[in-house]
């Protein structure tokens, strides 16, 4: 089985190398017969998917068959590992996750190559770029991080097991989502580099890549948030984002990718920011690879780095080569990227996109800076420093709030120039609504002058409300116009409104989801926690709740043994729930892990951790957190994903209305642009 796996990976490398070289020669020579050569390159690229897919199937099968002669299976699985986690073995370690990366890349390449008739020449260029990236990953798999390496000693009866932190249901979907996002940004990059290399005329390549970018962005968004949810549910420290380098590595391409999603509209609509967009696409791809370099090289320590080795050198050189290649084509063909229009007003959609891009890129820079600063400090002054959550919270919150403001304001500004009347019409009611939210919160006891974190929370709440109200008012205003035109009810009109311009109104729903996410985050300053050694019958006060320790018990299965605390939650005299925080000991890996118990409501989470026993007294320690509003983060994610899906639906055919007579015309003059534009 191992031999077969190694063979198909070698075959995949040969096919990808052929796809790259033959495709490149066909593009350069431009002689008769080049089309046929290009076609063979395309087919080799398609075949490489088959080879990589077979390799992945063999590795998963080896995990299911407990084939511990394969070193990777020995170190990442065991006989009693539940079946879903055996499947997750594929991405649980260094070699497997690189194989998974390669599988996804070849999958994206397959779809791209099958759709080549959309624009044969552009797709041929993109195919060559993807093949080049694929060659890099297959070189790694064949020579540096071999997933089918066999052990040289006698085969042990059982494996070492999967890292306990990874034995959580979300781990079956979180890495695939994240990797689909990381790898997916190779496709827009491939199109961008291809368009740059061939001096592709017009903005058609942008239209072609738009869906790829949005789908990829959707996956990356899911991946980042599922990672946060996993950290919250598994790591047991009561938070969901610790600004760990691995978390930062996933956030950086997301930030730049989000900037690209916005600024690309400038290029589509106004033929502007062509150079900037090229660099954003490249930056997103590059940061995804950089993140992998950071976490795999061990250059920056991380609690989440499950797979570290010496392959950092490979990634380093790949980063250099990809930067050099892109810079070469940019310098060579930059004259092709001139803007077609000028900016007419500071208060316009164009300006808002400029500031939006500035803030996203700045946020990315800040995260990158904080992630690298320990290394910079070590080089400059010979000693490392820690850059923890407090640093990021302090420097990123103002930028995040400005972005939230732009999220509310930007979509309602007109292209080219926005009049004062338009501003007043669009923002009066949402602004008053946001102000009312602020007043209510102060009335409820939020004192912005008491602590800067409360101030930020209040501003974030008002801005999130502004975003929500502007989105709602846009839907209602557009819906009303269509309702007046068609006679349909408001809800049906709003659906029709969305269908006329799915990207715009899907985007609004994504913005609404962002507002909900901020609603969840702004609860953080109001978190409370308590810790106590709790014997039977002991009580722990946590805000308005009382935690009563009823008992401790033990359970055991083939995979792990578990100590459970039985904690009853009371509000006043009324029992509202019972929670079972656990401390598990995994048999195969001989590792211990706390599994928090969480009671989630829309208002707050009660998060209880059984932290084991005090080594001196032998008494069990219970730590409890009261985290307000956290659920809204996950609800916000669902709304964002929903909005992304809606924005991918093709637009309905435009309505054509013939105005017969000015008296018969029911549509007012200003109604024409409803649903138009972005």
């Amino acid at each position: 089985m191992a031999e077969l796996g190694s063979f198909v990976l070698l075959l995949a490398l040969a096919l990808s190398a052929y796809s790259f070289l033959a495709g490149l020669i066909a593009l350069i020579r431009k002689q008769p017969g080049s089309e046929r050569l290009s076609e063979t390159a395309r087919r080799a690229g398609i075949a490489s998917f088959g080879a990589v897919f077979t390799g992945a199937v063999i590795l998963v099968t080896a995990a299911f068959r407990n084939d511990f002669s394969i070193s990777y299976i020995l170190h990442h699985s065991n006989r009693d590992l539940p079946l879903p986690y055996k499947f997750a073995t594929l991405w649980s370690g260094q070699e497997g996750s690189l194989l998974f990366w390669s599988l996804l890349l070849s999958g994206y390449g397959l779809v791209l190559r099958l759709r080549h008739k959309t624009d044969v020449r552009l797709f041929a260029h993109a195919s060559v770029v993807i093949a080049a990236v694929q060659v890099f990953f297959l070189l790694l798999l064949n020579f540096a991080a071999k997933p089918f390496a066999v052990i040289q000693t006698a085969v042990p009866p059982d494996g070492n097991g999967l890292n306990p932190l990874l034995q959580y249901p979300e781990m079956v979907i979180h890495p695939p989502m994240l990797y689909l996002g990381y790898v997916g940004f190779t496709v827009p990059f491939a199109f961008a580099l291809g368009a740059l290399a061939m001096k592709y005329p017009g903005e058609k390549w942008i239209h072609i890549t738009r869906r790829w970018t949005m789908v990829t962005w959707g996956f990356l968004t899911c991946g980042v948030f599922l990672g946060a949810h996993w950290a919250y549910s598994v790591l047991g420290w009561g938070g969901y984002w610790g600004w760990d380098p691995v978390e930062n590595a996933s956030l950086m391409p997301w930030l730049v990718g989000t900037a690209f999603l916005h600024s690309v509209m400038m290029q589509e609509k106004r033929g502007m920011l062509k150079t900037w967009n090229m660099w954003l696409v490249f930056g997103t791809f590059w940061l995804a690879i950089l993140g992998t370099f950071l976490t795999r090289s061990g250059i920056i320590s991380s609690v989440h780095a499950f797979a570290q080795s010496s392959i950092g050198d490979w990634f380093f050189w790949f980063l250099i080569i990809s930067l050099g290649t892109f810079t070469f084509f940019f310098v060579k063909n930059r004259s092709h990227l001139r803007s077609e229009h000028k900016l007419e007003s500071l208060i316009s959609r164009e300006s808002s996109f400029l500031f939006n891009n500035l803030l996203f890129v700045l946020a990315c820079f800040t995260v990158l800076w904080g992630t690298w600063f320990p290394k910079i400090s070590e080089l400059a002054q010979g000693k490392k420093v820690t850059v923890g959550a407090a640093f990021y919270n302090k420097v990123t919150i103002p930028v995040a709030l400005l972005l939230l403001l732009l999220t509310a304001v930007g979509p309602l500004l007109a292209w080219r120039k926005t009049s004062f009347e338009s501003l007043k019409r669009n923002f009066l009611w949402p602004s008053l609504g946001a102000l009312a939210v602020g007043i209510v919160l102060v009335g409820l006891g939020v004192r912005p002058w008491a602590d800067v974190s409360y101030f930020y929370a209040l501003v974030a709440a008002m801005l999130a409300a502004l975003v929500a109200f502007t989105v709602i008012s846009e839907f209602i205003r557009g819906g009303r116009v269509i309702s007046g035109h068609t006679g349909e009810n408001l809800a049906a009109s709003m659906v029709r409104l969305w269908h006329r311009n799915t990207r715009r109104y899907g985007g609004y729903i994504v913005h609404f989801g962002v507002a909900l996410v901020f609603l969840g985050i702004l609860g953080t300053p109001f978190n409370r926690e308590a810790e106590k050694e709790m014997a039977f019958g002991d009580k722990l006060a946590l805000g308005p709740y009382t935690l009563l320790c009823r008992s401790y018990t033990q359970e055991e299965n083939a995979n792990y043994s578990s100590d459970l605390a039985i904690i009853q939650i009371f509000k006043g005299d009324k029992q509202i729930d019972t929670l079972y925080p656990e401390s598990r000991f995994y048999t195969a890996s001989q590792q211990q892990q706390h599994v928090p118990a969480i009671r989630s409501t829309l208002k707050e989470d009660i998060y209880v951790v059984y932290e084991g026993q005090n080594q001196d007294t032998g008494r069990p320690i219970i730590k409890a957190h009261l985290n307000p509003m956290v659920s809204w983060i996950w609800i916000g994610l669902i709304v964002m994903v929903f909005g992304t899906i809606l924005s991918l639906v093709p637009n309905a055919a435009p309505m054509r209305a013939t105005v017969r007579d000015s008296k018969e015309a029911r549509v007012p003059a200003h109604a024409a642009p409803v649903g138009a534009g972005d």
Binding site: L343, L346, L354, L358, V361, W369, Q381, V385, R504
Partner: protein
């Protein structure tokens, strides 16, 4: 007589009560200080967690460090002295954030500097782009037709997407 006895007993209780209150207040103050300082320090076991939030199972460092923190606060060391002791014992990585002195100040300045420079850059770009001449200068107005008309129609469609 009986009244005075009771009064005497109460008088004896007052210093004891005061001592208890002071001890409780002191204890409360100490816990606040431990909480405050403990959140400025990292656990150095490599788990990358704040000292008081480290729940790393079997962590050999956090328990000891918490005990050291509690001992230092209880014996009345000032906040700064406690932090300095931890830096001397465990190195600068024990702090959760870079200090605001010397080279480390760059860590704090750079994001804000980038923000200011970025905003300045965008404002300059906007100003320059506003002054940028249009590629085609208007001459005598003539009716637009043919390919040019198609170009305008295409642009209008892109900008309105109706």
């Amino acid at each position: 007589m009986r009244f005075s006895l009771i009064r005497d007993k109460r008088l004896h209780l007052i210093p004891a009560l005061l001592l208890a209150v002071l001890l409780l207040l002191g204890a409360g103050d100490d816990s606040a200080r431990i909480d405050r300082i403990g959140h400025q320090l990292m656990c150095v076991c490599g788990c990358n967690q704040v000292l008081l939030e480290c729940n790393h199972v079997g962590c050999s460092y956090s328990t000891r460090m918490r005990d050291e923190l509690t001992a230092a606060v209880t014996r009345g060391d000032g906040d700064n002295n406690v932090v300095q002791w931890f830096i001397q014992t465990y190195g600068t990585t024990v702090l959760t954030v870079p200090t605001e002195h010397g080279f480390n100040r760059i860590a704090w300045i750079m994001p804000y500097l980038a923000l200011v420079l970025g905003i300045g850059l965008v404002v300059i770009i906007v100003a320059v782009w506003k002054k940028r001449p249009l590629a085609v200068h208007a001459s005598v107005p003539t009716a637009v037709r043919g390919v040019e008309l198609d170009r305008f129609r295409d642009q209008a469609r892109r900008e309105t997407q109706l």
